[in-house]
C-alpha cells in the first residue's frame, strides 16, 4: 500500500513556488520545548506552533484582519496586500496571510500605516473595478463591496472607470466571465490549476497591463474547461458567475401550455438556507418543495429517485464487468469509474480520453431523470413530452453543459431543458418574495417521492460509493450491510481526504435476486473475493488516481472508483452558495448524512419507485435494451489540444 499512501497524501498544489505555503512545518508535538512561539497581537498574547501565519494567530485570538486574495482552500498568495500588519522591528508592513511566525514577534493590526495602506488598497482596486453594485450578481455578497463598506469608502479617491475594457464573455453554458470586475486576486488561477488541474486561467502580461487570460484568449466555450465552477465559488467579486437560465424558466412557468417539472438534487437542500442568512448545514428540503410550487413549478421531484436508479444501473454494470473479467475471461476495462459528475466526465474526456472505456456508460441522475420524465412519466400522465419542460436544481454549473450535450436526448427530446443552480433558485425565490426559512413544509410529488437516504448521500464525496456498496453487497451476499457497518454507515469511504481507499470482503454469497437473474446465473465466483474501491474528489486528485492506475500502481487493482470534480463532492459544487470552505462543506455534509439516517429507504434497490419503474416500464431490467437506450450514454474523446 506504500505507493498508494503516497498518492493519497501528496499535496495537490502544483503552484508556483512563490505561492506554496512556507516550508516551516508545525511540529507534531506542540508541547515540545521550542515547538510553540509567543506572539503578541494588539497587546494580546498567544503561543502558536512554528510556522503559523500571523493571520491564523490573529484569528485564534479573535482579531479580525481583512483578506481578499487569501482563501482557506488555496495556497498562499500574498498579492492583494489588504491583510498587511505592522510587525515591530520591521521597516515595511507584512502580509499577515503569508508571514510564517518563526520567532517571537509583536504585531499591530490597526496602526495609522496599516489603516492607510488598507484604505489605499481598496481605493486602488475600486479605481479599476468597472460596474455598479446594483447591477451586479454579487451585490450584497461581494468581498470588495464589504471591504469598501468596512473601510468607509465614500468617494472614489483615485477615480473610477466609466467604460468597460474587456466586455462580458457569455459563450459558455456554464460560466460567465466579466473581467471588468476582476481585481487580480488570482484565486481562479490557483483554483483551476491547483485544485482542479485544468488550467483555464493564468495571469497575462505584467505591470498595469496585467490581466487574467485564457489560452489564446479564447472565449470560455472554446477552452478546455470542465465547467466545474469552482472558480466562481472562490471569486471575491462578480467577475465570474454562472450562466443564469432563470428568465427562460420563468417564461416556461408563465406559459400555460407548458408542464414545468423540477427535480432537486440532494446537495442544494443542505445549503440554500445560506442564501437566506441561515448557517451552513440547515436543511430546508421540505420548505423548498413548497416554495418551488409557490413559484409555479407543476411538479417537484427528488433527484434521489434517479440516484437510486443510477446505483442499480451502474452497480449492474460493475457486476457485469466483473463477471466478464473473472468468469468469462473477456477483456473489460476495470476499475469502473462513476459518471455522475459532469465536470469529471469532461475532465477525463479532455485529459485521459484513452481511459474512457473505464467510465460507466450510465447517465448521471440528472439526465436519467429527464429521460424517465419525458417517457415513463409522460405516458403515465398522458402529457406530450414536447410540452414538458424539465428543470434540474443542481449544486453544479457543469450540469448546464451536460444537459446541452447533443447526445442527451434519448426520448427524442432534450432530457433536461435547464440546469439551475442553488444560487439561482434562491434568486428566483427572492424575486417571488418567498421567505424560504418560514415556508411550510411539503413532500415531493409522486410517483418518485420516496424519501431515500441512498440517494441523498450522493451529495457528499464518497456517497455514490457508499450507496453502491450498500446495494451491491446486499444483492450479492443476501446479508444486511448493517451487520458489517453500524447503521449502514460505511465510514471508510466518508470524509474529506482527497483520495480514499477501502476494501470490502465478500465472505459468503446468497441467491441471485430476481432483478439480475437474467444476467448472472449465480454468485459463486465472488465467494471469498475482496471488493476494492476508491474515492477521489477535486480533479487534481482524480489526476493522481488516473496516473497511479496508468503506472500500474495500487489503485489499478481497484474494481470501482468514485470521482467527483468538486472538492467535497456536490456539496462543494460550483453552483452552491458563496462562500465555500472546509467548515461550510463539513456542515453541509452533516445535514446530508442526517437526512440519510432519517430516511425510510436507505438502499437503492429497496426504493419502491425504482422497483416499480423496472416492473412497469424498463421491463428488460437493468442494463437491458430499454434502459440502455434511455439511461445510458456514450462519451467523446476530446483531447487537450486546442490547436
Amino acid at each position: 500500500m506504500e505507493d498508494n499512501e503516497k498518492v493519497m497524501t501528496e499535496s495537490t498544489v502544483r503552484a508556483p513556488k512563490s505561492t506554496t505555503p512556507s516550508t516551516i512545518k508545525a511540529p507534531e508535538d506542540i508541547s515540545a520545548i521550542g515547538a510553540t512561539i509567543k506572539v503578541t497581537i494588539d497587546g494580546k498574547e498567544i503561543r502558536v506552533p512554528m510556522g503559523t501565519t500571523i493571520l491564523n494567530a490573529a484569528r485564534m485570538l479573535g482579531i479580525n484582519i481583512p483578506t481578499l486574495c487569501h482563501h482557506n482552500d488555496l495556497c498562499i498568495s500574498g498579492v492583494c496586500r489588504i491583510c498587511v500588519v505592522e510587525v515591530e522591528g520591521m521597516r515595511t508592513l507584512q502580509a499577515s496571510c503569508a508571514y510564517p511566525i518563526s520567532q517571537p514577534i509583536v504585531v499591530h493590526t490597526h496602526t495609522r500605516k496599516v489603516r492607510q495602506a488598507r484604505r489605499h488598497v481598496v481605493d486602488l482596486l475600486l479605481a479599476r473595478h468597472y460596474g455598479e453594485c446594483y447591477s451586479c450578481v454579487r451585490n450584497n455578497n461581494c468581498e470588495l463591496q464589504q471591504l469598501a463598506h468596512e473601510y468607509g469608502v465614500d468617494f472614489y479617491r483615485f477615480g473610477h472607470v466609466d467604460k468597460p475594457t474587456y466586455g462580458r464573455d457569455n459563450s459558455s453554458y456554464a460560466i460567465v466571465r466579466d473581467m471588468d470586475k476582476c481585481i487580480l486576486c488570482r484565486r481562479c488561477v490557483r483554483t483551476c490549476i491547483d485544485l482542479q488541474e485544468v488550467g483555464v486561467y493564468e495571469a497575462f502580461e505584467r505591470g498595469n497591463q496585467t490581466r487574467i487570460g485564457t489560452f489564446m484568449d479564447n472565449p470560455m466555450a472554446e477552452l478546455i474547461c470542465i465547467n466545474c465552477g469552482q472558480c466562481i465559488n472562490r471569486c471575491p467579486t462578480g467577475a465570474l458567475h454562472a450562466n443564469d437560465p432563470s428568465d427562460a424558466i420563468w417564461a416556461a412557468i408563465d406559459d400555460p401550455t407548458k408542464h414545468v417539472v423540477i427535480q432537486t438534487a440532494p446537495a442544494p437542500r443542505s445549503a440554500i438556507g445560506e442564501c437566506f442568512g441561515l448557517p451552513a448545514g440547515t436543511p430546508l428540503t421540505f420548505e423548498m418543495n413548497t416554495a418551488m410550487r409557490y413559484c409555479g413549478f407543476d411538479k417537484v421531484f427528488d433527484t434521489n429517485f434517479s440516484a437510486d436508479l443510477t446505483i442499480i444501473e451502474e452497480g449492474t454494470e460493475l457486476i457485469l464487468r466483473l463477471y466478464k473479467a473473472l468468469v468469462k475471461k473477456e477483456p473489460v476495462s476495470l476499475p469502473l469509474f462513476t459518471s455522475c459528475s459532469p465536470g469529471w466526465v469532461k475532465y477525463i474526456e479532455h485529459f485521459y480520453p484513452e481511459m474512457l472505456s473505464h467510465l460507466s456508460s450510465a447517465k448521471s441522475p440528472q439526465q436519467m431523470f429527464g429521460a424517465v420524465i419525458k417517457t415513463y412519466y409522460a405516458e403515465l400522465n398522458n402529457i406530450d413530452p414536447a410540452d414538458i419542460v424539465t428543470v434540474a436544481l443542481m449544486p453544479c454549473t457543469a450540469k448546464k453543459f451536460e444537459c446541452n450535450r447533443p447526445e442527451m436526448n434519448s426520448s427524442g427530446f432534450k432530457d433536461i431543458d435547464y440546469g439551475l443552480t442553488t444560487r439561482e433558485l434562491a434568486g428566483m425565490f427572492q424575486e417571488a418574495g418567498i421567505d424560504l426559512p418560514n415556508m411550510p413544509k411539503s413532500d415531493f410529488d409522486e410517483p418518485f417521492g420516496t424519501r431515500t437516504g441512498s440517494g441523498v448521500i450522493f451529495g457528499a464525496t464518497g456517497g455514490v460509493m457508499e450507496s453502491a456498496i450498500r446495494t451491491v453487497y446486499e444483492l450479492i451476499t443476501g446479508d444486511r450491510i448493517d451487520n458489517l457497518f453500524e447503521r449502514a454507515r460505511i465510514m471508510p469511504v466518508r470524509g474529506f481526504e482527497g483520495i480514499r481507499y477501502a476494501e470490502l470482503p465478500i465472505a459468503k454469497v446468497g441467491p441471485v435476486p430476481d432483478l439480475l437473474k437474467h444476467l448472472i446465473p449465480n454468485w459463486d465466483w465472488l465467494r471469498g473475493a475482496t471488493l476494492k474501491v476508491a474515492v477521489a474528489h477535486g480533479t487534481a486528485n482524480a489526476k493522481k488516481v488516473l496516473d497511479n492506475i496508468k503506472s500500474g500502481g495500487k489503485l489499478s487493482e481497484c474494481h470501482f472508483i468514485e470521482f467527483m470534480a468538486c472538492p467535497g463532492g456536490c456539496l462543494g459544487g460550483g453552483g452552491m452558495p458563496i462562500p465555500t470552505n472546509e467548515e461550510i462543506r463539513a456542515a453541509r455534509a452533516q445535514a446530508i448524512y442526517a437526512e440519510d439516517e432519517a430516511s425510510e429507504v436507505r438502499k437503492s434497490y429497496e426504493n419502491p419507485a425504482v422497483v416499480r419503474l423496472y416492473n412497469e416500464f424498463l421491463v428488460d431490467g437493468p442494463c437491458g435494451h430499454k434502459s440502455h437506450k434511455l439511461l445510458h450514454t456514450y462519451y467523446t474523446p476530446r483531447g487537450k489540444k486546442l490547436v
Binding site: K17, T92, H120
Partner: protein
Amino acid sequence: MQVLDRVKINQEISDLKKIYGEDRSALLPILQDLQEKYGYLPNLVMQETAHALGIHPVEVESVASFYSFFHRKEKQGKYVLRLCQTISCDLSGKAKVARQLENELGIKFGETTKDGMFTLEYTNCLGMCDQGPALLINDRLFARVTPEKVPQIIADCRRDFIKSAFPKVVPSDVRKSGPILSHDLKPGEGLKAALKNTRSGVISLIRESGLKGRGGAGFPTAVKWQLAGAAQSDKKFVVCNADEGEPGTFKDRYLLFQHTEMIFDGMTIAAYAIGAMKGFVYLRGEYLYLKQYLQEVLEKRRQNNLLGENILGKEGFNFDIEIRMGSGAYVCGEETALIESLEGYRGEPRNRPPFPVDTGFQNHPTIVNNVETFLDAALICVKGAKWFNEHGTEKSSGTKLFSVSGDCEQPGIYELPFGITIEQLLKEVKGENAKAVQIGGASGRCVARKDFNRTIAFEDISSGGSIIVFGPQVDMLEVAINFMEFFVEESCGQCTPCREGNVKLLEGLKLLEEGRCSASYLNELMRLAETIQLASKCGLGQSSPNAFVSIIENFKSEILGRVPEKA
C-alpha cells in the same frame, strides 16, 4: 501564413529538453530557442511545449506574455531594433533618434515592416547609459546613435553588414580604477587561494572583510553564505545575478566582459563555501551578445579543471556553471523573482520569509549575489580582508564600482571608496554643475544640491552603482515621469500597491505637467507613495516610488503650477 508541422515541433522540443532538462525550469530557454527559430511563439509551439513539460498551455502563454522579449501574436522582423527609452538615453536625445527611425522605416514603434525585415520597439535600459542613445539590433549594440547615423545603420542591416561591420561588445570607458579593477590575478588564482582554506575559513575571511552585497541592498555576504552553508539539503545552488536592469548601471556588463574569470572564481568559491554543485549566471536578455563569450570562458575553465569534478584536485568538490538568459524583465533582478524565472515561471517575487538561503531554486538553499560581489569575494580570498576593508567606511567597507551617466563631461565607470560625498563624486566626473543626482537608478533617490554633502554608503545613501547626473537645464518633472513610466511597465503586476499605485502616481505627474494638480491631491499621492513603499510585496515595489517622492520633495516649486505650452 506559415504552416506549422506538429511532428517537427515536437521533435525540436524533445531535442531541446535533452539540453535544458525535463522539468519546468527548461521552459524559458526552450521558448527562447523556439522563438529564435520561428520568429515568434505560435500557439501551436506554446501548446506543445506545455504538454512536453507537463504543464498547461495557458501557463506557457502566461510566462511568454510576462517577458517583453517574447512575442506571441506575430512574427518579428529579421532585424529587431530596440531603442533604449530609459532616462540617460532619454536625456541624450532618444526622441530624435526614435523619430528618424520611424521616418526611415515607415513604421511606428511596436510595428514590423511589411517586408518582414524590421521590427521597431522601445526597450528599457540597455546598460549603455554612458554612451546613449543606445540601440540594440538583434544581438548587436549601437552606441551614441544620432539621427544622421540612422539611415546608414538601416542600410547596413539591409545588406546584412551588421554582423561583420560592428564589434560584438562595446566597451565602456573606465575613468578611474582602484584596487578591484587593477588586480592582476590569473584565472583560478582566487579559487586556488580559497581552496587552501577551509569552507568556514572562507566565510570567516569574507566576514572579516565586511563585504556587503553590491547589488544595492547591502546584505552582508558572509551571513548569506553562512546561512546557506548551514542549511541541510542534498542540493544547493549559487546564482550570479547578471540581470543588470537598473537604469543607469552598466558596470556589470563591463565586468562580465573584462573580469570574467574572477567572477567565475568568485562563484566557484561561493559553491565551495556553501557546498553547492550547480551554479547559474542569470544574464539579462539585453546582454545576449555576451553569452557566447561567457560560454567559451566556462569551457576553458572546464578544461583547466576550474570547473567540473574534483576541482583543482579537491576530492569531492564538484561544481559547474550554466548560463541562463533573461527575456526582458527588470523585476527579475529581485532575487526571488530571478529564482522564479530560473524555474520557468513569471518573474514574480515570492513572499519572504522563507528566504532563498533556505528555500531557493526548486526549494533548495540558494545564494544569489551580484556580479561585482563575486568579483570582490574572489579578490579578497587572495589579497585578504584588510586589503579590502582599508577602503570605505566602517559599515560600508571597500571600494565600489559606479556607472556614471547623464550631464557630466566624463561619463563611464569609476571605482571609488564608499563614504565619498556626492560633491566629491561630481568633481571626479566633471559634473559640478548638476542641479540633482539620481543615486541608485530608478529605484534610488534623487538628491538635490542642498544634500550634495551626503555620502554614498549603505548607512547613508545606498546605491548599486547607478549615478545619473542632471544638469541645470533638466526638467525634473520629465525625469519623474520617465521613472514612473518605467515602473508602471516593469512592475510584475501581482501586488496591488505597486501595480495600481504607480499608475496613479504617473497620472498625478501628468496632471502636474498640465498644471492641473492640487496640492491636496499631491499630498494624497505622497501618502499613496508611502503605502507603496510600506505595503508592496517585494523590495522593488517598495522602492518604486522613491524617485517620485524625492523629486516632489526637492523640486516642488519647479513642478507645481505649470502653465502648459499649448494652453
